[in-house]
């Protein structure tokens, strides 16, 4: 029977230090293997999901994005923060198996012409399109993202997502769901100091993408708490677009 030695009250024993190091390594490896994503505010994240990406960050533990291959200079692989509201930065680099591209000139034009001035992208914010289907699952208060090449959820509790944007950052992303025609669409928007707005019925694929981009633009402008407000801006963009039949961007290729 092994004897149990009392641990000295001063510096921890080498065994304790070693055990702690091993435990933290296991935790880190486990977290990276799970590719847990970061929750920012209410439901925004960094998605390194299901892609073989490694979340990396700076020495302070702030997230920098998803890295593929080796970690670059000044970057360290880090475990995702466990609590909502931690982290920062954009949604990360695109997983290599999915193609990320610019949004179409027509959508770019519509965002410029029809977005409410409070959420215009301007020259400092970008919206990109990722050719992937995104699904989200909440695990222990974190939103876990799974990007797939086909439109089938990984499981019954996974919910589809059309876009992502970390509040207050400069880079948002739209997924395939944001580019589909919508029938039976029904959302309402809510914004302080403005009348409610709503959109119901059918949306063309372009209108869906405009709604989604307007919604994500609101998050890029710092809205971390209100999906209804983000919806207000998305709906507002579509209603503005419809008010002149998209005349201001009619010549742009989609």
């Amino acid at each position: 029977m092994p004897t149990i030695r009392p641990i000295a009250s001063g510096t921890p024993s080498r065994r304790v230090v070693a055990a702690l190091l091993i435990a933290s390594a296991i935790v880190t490896t486990h977290a990276l293997a799970l590719e847990r994503v970061v929750v920012i505010g209410d439901g925004r994240w960094r998605d390194c999901s299901a892609s073989g990406g490694i979340p990396y960050g700076d020495a302070a533990g702030n997230y920098g994005g998803c890295q593929y291959g080796s970690i670059g200079g000044g970057q360290s692989p880090i475990a995702p923060p466990s609590q909502p509201g931690e982290g920062g930065g954009g949604p990360g680099s695109a997983p290599p198996e999915f193609i990320e591209r610019d949004i179409s000139p027509k959508l770019k034009c519509a965002l410029d012409k029809y977005l409410h001035p409070a959420v215009r992208l301007g020259t400092t914010r970008t919206m990109r399109r990722l050719d992937a289907w995104a699904f989200v699952l909440e695990i222990d208060g974190s939103w876990v993202y799974n990007l797939r090449p086909f439109n089938t959820a990984p499981g019954p509790r996974w919910k589809p997502a059309g876009g992502s944007a970390v509040p207050g950052t400069s880079y948002g992303r739209l997924y395939n769901r944001a580019f589909q025609e919508s029938t039976g669409f029904s959302r309402f928007g809510l914004r302080s100091g403005a009348p409610d707005n709503s959109l119901s019925g059918s949306l063309t694929a372009f209108e869906t993408s405009l709604y989604a981009a307007g919604h994500e633009a609101s998050h890029l402008h710092g809205n971390a708490d209100s999906e209804a407000e983000a919806d207000w801006y998305g709906i507002n963009a579509v209603l503005n677009y419809r008010s002149d039949n998209g005349a201001q961007c009619a010549q742009q290729p989609n």
Binding site: G163, A228, D231
Partner: protein, 315 residues
């Protein structure tokens, strides 16, 4: 060495105790300010009570028991207070909105715009200027964050005291622009998730048209663009929702009525209510409209009239 540590701990505990005593005294003084009725007093009390509430409010607590502790004049003062602070929040929004308009270079050349667009721009800017005219005297120089804190506190307290307007506004209003920290937006969201179902049910029993329209949307809304905590909010009782929304539709402006009728049709397709209950609710709403509302002007349900001091102020 150990004795010295023990003394240090005792001294620290003493300091903490004295600090708490001083803090408690400060707290009671701040609460006295609440009854003064002045806007600044209300704001100070709001800050104090907001953090206080966060600790004391019990999940699932019904609205009435707390309300019973507030007398009628206090309830009226609270209702007045939340509307006044909301007026000033609107004042700040209107200023910001006009700044957007004036600084928007897209409006420099309106030659290619449709008449509908021009009309919309004109109506919106006129509305915001009208809001500024109405609120400038009482809200100029106010601090938006202080107003948001005061509103967040007063609307919840008034709603808990049973004030129907406050319950309605708590449910249908946008989250106030609270600062991050102790009284952050997330805290507002948690409060909303806790209280909105109770206030919604009370409002639907009163057939509140604003809450009815919102509750109907909750039933038929498409999935959100991405999940959020608000998804935890369960839709309200289907019968109460349908009955109140049917009456709301009869009372609404023509365009909104058409929209609500579409939503009611979508609701029926969910088969949450049998044909008999639908028929019963339709008959009830029709009779209630004829009896109580037929002579009244139609309501603008997109505009939250009960949430401001003057119904004409609502954007």
């Amino acid at each position: 060495m150990r004795k010295a540590s023990a003394w240090l701990i005792l001294i620290a505990l003493g300091i903490v105790f004295a600090w708490q005593l001083w803090g408690g005294d400060l707290g009671s003084r701040t609460r006295h300010a609440e009854g003064e009725g002045s806007r600044q007093g209300g704001v100070a009390a709001g800050k104090e009570l907001l953090s206080d509430d966060t600790v004391r409010v019990v999940p699932g607590e019904a609205a009435e028991p707390q309300g019973a502790r507030v007398n009628a004049s206090d309830a009226n003062a609270l209702a007045g207070s939340f509307k006044q602070s909301n007026d000033c929040l609107l004042y700040h929004s209107a200023r910001r909105e006009l700044e957007y308009f004036l600084g928007d270079e897209r409006l420099d050349d309106l030659s290619g715009r449709s008449l509908e667009t021009l009309e919309g721009i004109d109506a919106t800017s006129r509305k915001y200027i009208s809001i500024l005219w109405q609120t400038e005297a009482s809200c100029a120089g106010s601090d938006q964050t202080a107003m948001a804190l005061a509103y967040a506190d007063a609307v919840l307290k008034a709603a808990l005291s049973g004030n129907p307007d406050a319950q309605s506004c708590f449910v249908i209003g946008a989250p106030p622009p609270l600062p991050k920290g102790a009284a952050s937006g997330e805290s507002w969201q948690d409060r909303y998730l806790r209280y909105a179902p109770v206030f919604t049910e009370h409002a639907l029993q009163r057939v509140d048209p604003y809450v009815a329209a919102r509750a109907l949307y909750q039933h038929i809304a498409s999935p959100s663009l991405h999940p959020s905590k608000m998804d935890e909010l369960k839709p309200a009782d289907p019968y109460l929702t349908y009955r109140a929304a049917r009456l709301a539709s009869l009372r609404a402006l023509p365009a909104q009525r058409a929209r609500l009728e579409g939503s009611l049709a979508a609701f029926k397709e969910l088969n949450l209510l049998g044909p008999k209950l639908i028929e019963q609710a339709d008959a009830w709403a029709s009779a209630a409209y004829t009896r109580d509302y037929a002579e009244q002007p139609p309501l603008d349900l997109d505009s939250h009239a009960p949430c401001y001091s003057s119904p004409g102020l609502a954007p």
